[in-house]
Amino acid sequence: MKAAPFEYVRAHDLDHVLQLLAAYGTDAKPIAGGQSLVPMMAMRLARPALIVDINRLDVLSEVTIGPHAVTLGATVRQRDLEDDTALHARLPMLREALRWVGHTQTRNRGTVGGSLAHADPSAELPLAAVVLDATVHLRSEAGGDRTVPASEFFLGPMTAAVAETECLVSIDWPVWDGDGVVCVFDEFAMRHGDFAMASAACQLQLDADGICRRAAIGLGGVDGVPLAFPQLAARLVGHRIDADLARGIAADASAACAPGSDLHAGSDYRRHLGNVLLTRVLLQAGEQRLAA
């Protein structure tokens, strides 16, 4: 399982990347961490004629903490996010999601942008992006800058809204101001670190009495793309999180999914898993606030 032959270029700046993508189109692929791309090339599922290495471009690996959002460059390594405690306080969802992302070895190379661009329907960072309503920044030589909200970024399994001449540049992750923000991410996989059969995420802002003031929920692995449920989440606002409320929301969310079937899990089972996991994360989030 060796990759088919290709040419390799280490880009010296972002314009260089975009020039090459404009010239080669679908024949060129940027490579960042390579944790998804290289296995695909080894299995010859991907056969780009040209690989453009973007790992050493500082402009793509910056972390910018703004007043209401954190901007992560496309090639920020997953491992660096894990280690950044200042980021955890602002983006607890990323801290919680990263615990489930692959293994130490893959997080040492894997990048945030790469995970989103790869758009695996069971991946954790794409789910976090839709739940938090992140914004993706892309750039191409001809089109310049383009922004896409996460809700429109994932088009289908392994298909993200990145044009063949575009490079993903950065992602803005909204920060929830104030106290009482709790976040729970749970998933079920055959082994820890494997692809999730189903995953659930919630971020809630609970006041001192445990009443929900803001909510965002989502399910992964239960459809062709990660799903957020802003309208269902709105039903949590103004209420304490109790078992009936959590079960009701989770049931409605999982009923709205169209999970696929494979060797590991049939669609009914995935839908059921999604239901159980979302109920669980909602209840755990409610309890976290009580404990805090």
Partner: protein, 183 residues
């Protein structure tokens, strides 16, 4: 027509090594085929099994998921570079022998890389931390318990490498050593 070869220079186990490779040559194939460092193993070749684990700038990575050209100018440590000096084992390596943490040996180099990296950051890891550190490495022989035990044992304060490993292998207790008396 094959693409032109690219000369890569990578510091491997402290020495600058160089070879001309195709762009598609993975880091693991460069280490094994270009440099003859066959301690790193190729297992699944798609990023699952961990047999190919090496340290890149001190961090464990899957060397089958990186092209050698990407590592140009960087520093790699393989299993051959873990021992403190030639002919001696590291504490973790020695503990692997003590607890029978290897049978066929295929996962072992990757396991040692993962365990060495763990102990660099966390000198006295608990069981959960050890299992997490080796979570990206598959073993078909041991069931993992002896590997966990090896790390616990080798990180105990005062653990000393138990024996000359060459002598240990060459003279098991139940063979007759030429010249020794038999009765």
């Amino acid at each position: 027509m094959a693409p032109a070869l690219i000369t890569v220079e990578i510091t491997v186990n402290g020495k600058l090594r160089s070879a001309a490779v195709e762009p598609r040559t993975t880091l693991v194939d460069f280490l094994r085929d270009s440099l003859g460092l066959t301690g790193t193993h190729v297992g699944c070749e798609h990023g699952i099994c961990g047999a190919c684990s090496v340290l890149l700038e001190g961090d464990p990575i899957r060397s089958c998921c990186m092209f050698a050209v990407q590592a140009d100018g960087m520093a790699v440590t393989t299993v051959e570079g873990l021992a403190p000096e030639r002919g001696r084992l590291s504490k973790i390596q020695d503990a692997f022998c003590e607890t029978h943490a290897l049978q066929c040996g295929y996962c072992t180099s990757g396991m040692l890389i993962a365990c060495h990296a763990l102990v660099e950051h966390t000198p006295q890891p608990d069981e959960a931390q050890i299992r997490d550190a080796i979570g990206g490495n598959l073993c078909r022989c041991t069931g993992y318990q002896q590997i966990v035990d090896a790390v616990k044992l080798g990180t105990q304060p005062g653990y000393t490498v138990r024996a000359d490993p060459v002598k240990r292998a060459a003279t098991p207790e139940n063979t007759v050593v030429p010249g020794a008396s038999n009765g």
